[in-house]
Amino acid sequence: MAILLDKNTKVVIQGITGSTGVMAVELMLDYDTEVPAGVTPGKGGQEVHGVPVYNSVKEAKDKHDINASFIVVPPLFAKSAVFEALDNNIKFVLVFTENVPLHDAAAMIAKAREKKAVLVGPASVGMISPTLGRIGPIGGLPDMVDKIYKKGNIGIISKSGGMTNETAWVIRQAGLGQSTVIGMGGEILVGSVYADLLRLFEKDKDTKAVVIFGELGGTYEDQIAEVLKNKEFTKPLAVFIGGMFAEKLPSGVQFGHAGAIIERGKGKPSEKIDKLRKAGALIAAQHHELGEIIKEAL
């Protein structure tokens, strides 16, 4: 039945009148995702691709059945947008906005915990459950999304937006399809990490295995090893971790995403790979090997 996003998901887009909002709503509607309303303060009464715009989440919720929010507001407004969604009792919020200040990200995460809600992002490219719906511009234009994404049994979690497509694509090239594919965001702090999402995939009957795109820096990849050791995830798991080259360069340089930094000797890909292999994960030395590795494990 996929995770987080299925046929019953009804998404309000906060920031719908911005350029990314306009692009995303078109792609989401085209993929038959239910978008009953959008919100932009001061733009109530307008329409974007036929979707009515309201001044607040409360107004939108009063008029429509809504159970998820997609947030595409500018970085300094993301925190208050997330708070507004959570305060209006929306239990699933995905934040596309990049470059969110760290203190704001920490506040969003704390608030989502308090409200027992699921927060994905910030800096998530979105998520897709093939044939059921997509949130965000993930997969791009209609011909592309149908080429890359096909309903199947592989769950995918990626820190990187572009590599989300690419990882889904190597799965397709191996002749497999996907259950749910999530861009979790590559920032230092994000609302849902590999460990959280693996626990959800464990419970999902449609998911037979999971493939992960990981990066240098932080401890989110390391936490996967704990989830495996604790038997909280028992299906086959294949992982690729990028950023080996950074180990040979000075520590403290940020490559790629904000979270992709080796600091004070911590966050090295080689150590992450070591821990994961010991915990039973399958490791791809090259990204394009992920498809064949998981196919063999099934």
């Binding site: 692009m23 300094l76 969110v100 200040p101 760290l102 203190h103 920490a106 506040a107 995460i109 704390a110 608030k111 490219v125 511009p137 993930i138 997969g139 791009g140 592309m144 080429k147 890359i148 820190k159 990187s160 937006g161 572009g162 590599m163 497509n165 690419e166 694509w169 190597v170 090239q173 590559g186 230092i188 702090l189 994000v190 990490v193 795109f213 990066e215 240098l216 932080g218 401890t219 989110y220 936490q223 990028g242 950023g243 080996m244 080259f245 360069l249 000075p250 403290g252 340089v253 940020q254 490559f255 790629g256 995403h257 904000a258 979270g259 992709a260 004070r264 090259q286 990204h287 394009h288």
Partner: protein, 371 residues
């Protein structure tokens, strides 16, 4: 910054040229890295002669490739004890944390008795919570609450005070390592800090500065560039894609001339400047343009910028391209037409060829050429 929030720091003067100083004092080289004492960048001076000597020795000297343009002359603080405290973000608890040690000063990295307190960003750090955490060092609680306020109000990613000195007149923060959140600059428009060099253990090169300037042209899309020692100009899309492809290139036996990354649908002007800087670096023997299947970055925009740079530079070296995404047909046509017209050695791959598999192709071409 600390003083603004009422935190006690030693009296000091900043010198950019040699002038009279009073002793006893501490002379500190103003550099953007730690462990300065180990390199002779910090001197404790008991009298005026020592102080004058230290100023002339340190000012203008070069430590780890960075020239000392100013020194801070601080009053020497007599202390009974020194403590360590830092506020930062922790990816395990996904919260801010406080690290504290009753044994501050140099060598904190090797310390094992550092205590950790997870703080709720919404609730903040209360004096009561700080007191419970500090146990026998309760007296520090009000200062730690003040420092928490600085950490939040100033949008710090890291606020490290080492040491906090216990003096006869109270606690004084003797040295701080602060990392400000660049994503929060929009709410600190009053700040007038000098440009920080990239954190790569050396000053920025002219090429790096040119790409940084291009990146700052507008807020649409990002281009990044770091020079390395190799001979293959590396133009990669996306944060995740670029690190994946760097690994692939190195494991295929290639030597990248640079790290780079472009993302978020950058303008063709940004792509033009990035490409030009990357391919005009002396000694380039090949160029690998590579990216995952883009979600919303337009391939035609990207190719227009790249082609413009190629038209100016007239590359003789082999070029391998692997990319896919919106408007890829149009993008590939722009590149292929220009390549045909000018006789460039370009090979183009789409999604059918795995991203990382094209690393071997560029390496083979470059090695074939140089043999």
């Amino acid at each position: 910054m600390l003083q603004k929030h009422g935190v006690s720091v030693p009296k000091s003067v900043l010198l950019t040229s040699k002038s009279a100083v009073s002793a006893p004092c501490v002379i500190k080289a103003q550099l953007l890295f730690g462990k300065r004492a180990d390199f002779g960048g910090i001197k404790i001076c008991k009298d005026k002669k020592q102080a004058d000597d230290a100023v002339s020795k340190i000012l203008g000297a070069t430590f780890k490739g960075e020239q000392v343009k100013s020194v801070l002359v601080e009053d020497l603080v007599e202390m009974q004890n020194q403590y360590y405290a830092s506020f930062l973000f922790d990816t395990d608890s996904r919260s801010p944390i406080l690290l504290f040690s009753a044994e501050g000063g140099t060598g904190i990295e090797q310390q094992t008795n550092v205590q950790k307190l997870v703080i709720n960003e919404l609730a903040g750090l209360s004096e009561e919570q700080a007191s419970t955490f500090l146990k026998s060092n309760k007296a520090l609680a009000p200062l730690l609450v003040q420092l928490w306020t600085v950490f939040v109000k100033e949008d710090c990613k890291l606020l490290e005070i080492n040491p906090i000195a216990q003096t006869s007149s109270g606690f004084v923060c003797l040295d701080a390592h602060v990392e400000l959140d660049e994503f929060a600059l929009g709410r600190h428009k009053d700040r007038v800090y000098a440009e920080r060099p990239a954190n790569i253990g050396r000053a920025m090169t002219e090429r790096e500065k040119a790409v940084k300037a291009a990146n700052d042209l507008d807020y649409h899309g990002t281009v990044k560039y770091i020079e390395l020692d190799g001979d293959i100009a590396f133009l990669a899309a996306g944060g995740g894609g670029s690190i994946t492809c760097m690994d692939a290139l190195i494991s295929a036996g290639g030597k990248p001339a640079n790290y780079t990354e472009f993302s978020g649908d950058p303008s063709d002007e940004k792509m033009y400047i990035l490409t030009k800087q990357a391919i005009t670096k002396p000694g380039i023997k090949g160029c690998w343009i590579v990216g995952a299947i883009a979600n919303f970055s337009r391939i035609d925009t990207m190719m227009s910028g790249i082609v413009r740079a190629f038209e100016e530079v007239k590359p003789k070296f082999p070029i391998v391209v692997r990319r896919s995404g919106p408007y890829e047909k149009e993008g590939f046509k722009i590149l292929k037409d220009a390549a045909k017209k000018h006789g460039w050695n370009v090979e183009v791959f789409g999604a059918e060829t795995p991203l990382t598999a094209t690393a071997e192709i560029i390496v083979r071409k470059v090695h074939g050429n140089s043999a």
